[in-house]
């Protein structure tokens, strides 16, 4: 079982930067970055988030030439890290519209992504364990 991650930010560059940092700790875990309003501005688009969910949820199937691989190492779902406000709503809409089993972690987006990346490398990781670790990031004290 594998858990994928999606990082959603109002800024595509912020999402990519967060993924860049989290990927340092992520081993083989699939992490997708998604953000921006699709016109080069600030915002999020449910359709784009849905595509990212599918890409992140496809872990373990990609190497099997497609149709035969569905039950080899099935994905255990996707944990979604979000920044603010409407990004949360749009991520919810995308999850409802997609067939991917995904949950939003109620966590700070950068710290949560790093924690989730570490947790996802555990061979016994589940959707719940990764979400819990992401949410534990709310407790991190910096000074």
């Amino acid at each position: 079982m594998t858990v994928g991650l999606v990082v959603v930010s109002h800024s595509a560059r912020a999402a990519e930067g967060i993924v860049e940092i989290a990927a340092e700790m992520a081993g083989e875990t699939r992490i997708e970055a998604v953000g921006g309003d699709g016109r080069g501005g600030i915002g999020t688009v449910p359709d784009d988030i849905e595509d990212a969910l599918v890409a992140a949820g496809d872990v373990g199937r990609s190497g099997n030439g497609g149709d035969s691989g569905a039950d080899d190492d099935p994905s255990d779902g996707v944990v979604v890290l979000v920044d603010l406000g409407s990004a949360v709503m749009n991520a919810e809409v995308a999850i409802e519209l997609s067939d991917v089993d995904a949950v939003i972690a109620d966590a700070p987006v950068l710290e949560g992504a790093v924690n989730a990346a570490v947790a996802a490398t555990d061979p016994s990781a589940t959707l719940e364990s990764v979400r819990e670790q992401a949410e534990a990031a709310s407790e991190i004290s910096k000074v």
């Binding site: 309003d37 915002g43 688009v45 449910p46 406000g85 409407s86 919810e92």
Partner: protein, 265 residues
């Protein structure tokens, strides 16, 4: 296929096309109205928000009307979903998922066309999605304050008062208008206006206002398609609840856990 079945299915296809065309006409009317109210909505939003509601909604609905017009097979479900998807990607901010996302999900209720029953189901799903997505309830100073009385009034008018759908819709619009007025004297608890705390009191909510415009245009188009006048009406119900029936209903609801409703004796 027998001739009779064929005729029935032709009629069904005709109905569906007519319903679909009516929905496209409603979307076009909404787009025009929102464009006409763009500055009004922006003014409302600049008082308690970030002054982008008019522009965002006008852009989104203009694109949505284009997308609806371009559909090859505009049945009601497809139109609602297409418009919802377009609003989600074009409106931006919280209004995108609230107006657009809710429409995508509610649109599924129109799979069998537009009837009084499917319209009630559509309205209820739409309200439920807006409430869940925005985590807002009535009294929070949001579009929920316009939607809830509209949806409740529409449902009761159809299901209990047995009014024709056009009159039910006219009552719903009146209810929404009262709901919009209700957002003025209360403190916003959700959305950007809530950041203002007590300073949000005395201001009309832009999202509730645009929701009312949507409903008004749907009513106009519905009346137009039915060749009827928009009925003069208000949100009050013509029926007085019958005490015996009300007690029966309460007893039915309480039935499974053996509770006797207070005051039922």
């Amino acid at each position: 296929m027998s001739e009779e079945n064929e005729r029935a299915s032709d009629e069904h296809a005709d109905d569906e096309r007519e319903d679909g065309e009516a929905v496209v006409a409603a979307v076009e009317a909404v787009a025009e109205r929102i464009e006409a109210e763009r500055d009004h909505l922006t003014d409302l939003d600049s008082a308690i928000g970030d002054a982008d509601h008019g522009g965002n909604m006008a852009r989104g609905w203009a694109k949505a009307a284009d997308a609806a017009r371009d559909l090859e097979d505009p049945n009601p479900e497809t139109v609602a979903k297409t418009v919802g998807k377009t609003l989600m990607s074009e409106v931006g901010g919280a209004s995108g998922p609230l107006f657009g996302g809710s429409l995508v999900f509610a649109g599924a209720e129109l799979a069998d066309g537009v009837t009084a029953e499917t319209a009630v189901a559509f309205a209820e799903t739409y309200l439920e999605k807006v409430e869940d997505r925005g985590d807002a309830r009535i009294g929070d100073g949001t579009m929920v304050d316009a939607l809830t009385p509209a949806v409740h009034t529409f449902k009761k008018s159809v299901e209990v008062d047995d009014l024709d759908p056009l009159e039910a819709l006219a009552k719903a619009v009146d209810a929404a208008e009262r709901g919009v007025a209700f957002t003025v004297p209360i403190r916003a608890r959700k959305g950007r206006a809530s950041y203002l705390g007590w300073r949000s009191v005395g201001h009309q909510d832009p999202g509730a206002t645009s929701t009312l415009f949507l409903l008004e245009e749907v009513l106009e188009v519905a009346a137009d398609r039915l060749d009827a006048e928009v009925p003069e009406t208000d949100a009050s119900s013509p029926t007085i609840p019958d005490d015996t029936e009300a007690e029966d209903a309460e007893a039915d609801e309480a039935g499974s856990d053996d509770a006797t409703p207070e005051g039922a004796e």
